[in-house]
């Protein structure tokens, strides 16, 4: 499978995420679009981790080439999980204060 297909898929998902952030007003949906963009980048990193090293893998199937990129994706997932818990806590706190998750009410940064 050519690497270009994966790049185009990741670009499409990322652009849909950007369009979602720009067109929605619900803070939770915006947050979910950010998660979608993170996942598009993760998919691209995994595809790139499999791009090179064809000769190395052919002669030695157990060589650990490309492991670093996949660990990088693993750490991105770890950081994303921590980010989501704090972000949702902030959104819940905002809902408790202004009884809405509309980002247009947030532009003053106070209630």
């Amino acid at each position: 499978m050519p690497i270009n297909y994966y790049i185009f898929l990741a670009i499409a998902l990322f652009s849909i995420g950007v369009a979602g952030v720009l067109t929605r007003r619900n803070a939770i949906i915006i947050f979910m679009c950010v998660e979608l963009m993170l996942n598009a980048v993760n998919l691209l990193l995994v595809a790139f981790s499999k791009m090179h090293y064809e000769n190395v893998v052919m002669f030695n199937p157990t060589s650990p080439v490309g492991t670093e990129a996949q660990l990088f994706v693993f750490f991105i997932m770890v950081v994303a999980a921590a980010e989501v818990s704090v972000g949702l806590a902030i959104i819940v706190m905002m809902y408790r204060n202004i009884h809405s998750v509309d980002v247009n009410f947030l532009n003053r940064l106070k209630h």
Binding site: K50, A80, A81, V84, N104
Partner: protein, 167 residues
């Protein structure tokens, strides 16, 4: 057309269609469910790329934990399609055009890059299997692993402090 290509195009259609439905759904609960579809499609791509460990972690962490958290918060706030805030139509069109322009610029840039045209994804080897990843994680990357546990602790404390009632 081999079975790998058929699976690739099926998962690609599933991911892009799910993402579009997620952005355009009026009801936030439907958005969360479509995003879960997208995450399963991306996990399928990881399996096709021979990265089984990341596929399982993606399902457990994203579709299992994060999306349940989102669903829980949405149901806690009792959101539905009726009280969903809407931007006016011109802002929506402007946002779509901006996203489309980004897509266009990226695709034009990638299509011009000649070094990428000949590269292929090589799914052989045992790189994505857990024993190689685990060995590297616990020898070369043990310090970032420990630091990420501190990050989780601080995120947990932060979430508890932010979610506390009063003051």
């Amino acid at each position: 057309m081999s079975i790998t290509e058929i699976l690739f195009w099926f998962l690609t259609a599933m991911a892009v269609g799910g993402a579009l439905m997620m952005v355009t759904s009026k009801n936030p609960v439907y958005s969360v469910l479509w995003l879960i579809v997208v995450f399963f499609a991306i996990s399928g791509h990881y399996i096709l790329l021979n990265a089984q460990f990341l596929a399982v972690v993606n399902i457990i962490v994203y579709a299992g934990a994060i999306m349940v958290l989102f669903l829980f918060v949405i149901m806690l706030m009792n959101m539905n399609a009726d009280n969903e805030p809407q931007k006016n139509i011109w802002l929506k069109i402007a946002g779509m055009i901006a996203g489309g322009c980004l897509l266009l610029v990226f695709i034009a840039a990638i299509r011009q890059t000649e070094a990428l045209q000949i590269q292929k994804v090589n799914t052989g080897g045992q790189t994505g299997l857990i024993h190689l990843l685990g060995k590297t994680l616990f020898t070369d990357y043990v310090l970032p692993f420990e630091i990420s546990s501190v990050l989780f602790l601080s995120a947990m404390v932060g979430a508890v402090v932010l979610g506390r009632k009063g003051d």
